[in-house]
Subunit: 142 residues, 2 copies
DNA sequence: TTAATTGTAACCTTTCTTGTTACAACGATA
DNA sequence: TATCGTTGTAACAAGAAAGGTTACAATTAA
């Protein structure tokens, strides 16, 4: 299975906020039309980004702004904020048979190694900042 | 979301086959009882491992054996054999709005970077061989 | 007060995962 | 040849998760 599109939607959302918040009020409806995702989904994502201290959302008046330095926001921050991974990346089958020597030791043999793969993935995400994406984006927009 | 437990079940399955195929016929029912997973699921996984040239399954008479050197079977081979990832790791929202400069460029900005994260994960899986797991397992079994 | 917007609950649909039953095909063996 | 244990596979069901949608109270500027 794949990692939820909430992750790429959240990245897209932040890029929109950054690019347009100087010139206009960036609302969930505006982001919804750029991402082509339902406004309620966007509001939920904005709420999570807000909880993570990445954005500020103005209740009532509307509009979101980024409240952290772009180079201090990594894809890992966004990934964790949007809770795309509850628990671990690799799902394990429940209750392997303890009576079987393989079943009894499978977790000892696999857990650490799979955890390490997952942490490597997270480290990669941590290397990529929103600043890097904005730079790429603005190059493409020219 | 998580990667299907078919992956860890497949690893468990191969460890069972390796450990027990010398002394007994390793059937889908036997593996099912060690993994605590339905025998039909095991047969499907065995079929995929067979298609990938990792195991041989005796139709009729029953029993599976590993037909590759343990150090030539990596977790990536098993991962791909079991088709746990159709397409890419990161699911992308459909049809971002081309009229919006962000929507129009989001794929250009993100695709390569996310692909690279995914490939890093696969590289990690490729570093881990069944031989390494068997060595760990037999240390634990003592 | 009004109008636009957020925050959130509730519900629905679709898709995916896993489990389960059923049964034909296979192959060794009596 | 008949039997028995097994594989291969189809069909279906249950449960979980993702995403969409409607609805509406709460918020805030004007």
């Amino acid at each position: 299975m794949q990692i939820s599109s909430k992750f790429t939607v959240a990245i897209h959302t932040l890029l929109c906020i950054y690019e347009f918040s100087k010139e206009k009020k960036v609302t969930s409806n505006f982001i919804a039309s750029s991402t082509n995702v339902n406004p309620v989904i966007i509001r939920n994502i904005l709420g999570q980004l807000k909880d993570a201290g990445i954005v500020n959302v103005e209740a009532g008046v509307g509009g979101a702004t980024i409240i952290k330095d772009l180079s201090d926001i990594t894809l890992l921050d966004i990934f964790e904020a949007t809770k795309c991974l509850e628990g671990d990346l690799f799902n394990f089958h429940d209750n392997p048979n303890k009576e079987c020597p393989v079943g009894n030791n499978i977790h000892k043999v696999l857990d650490k190694r799979l955890y390490s793969v997952q942490e490597t993935m997270k480290k990669e995400l941590k290397q990529i900042t929103l600043k890097m994406l904005v730079d790429d984006l603005e190059k493409n927009m020219k």
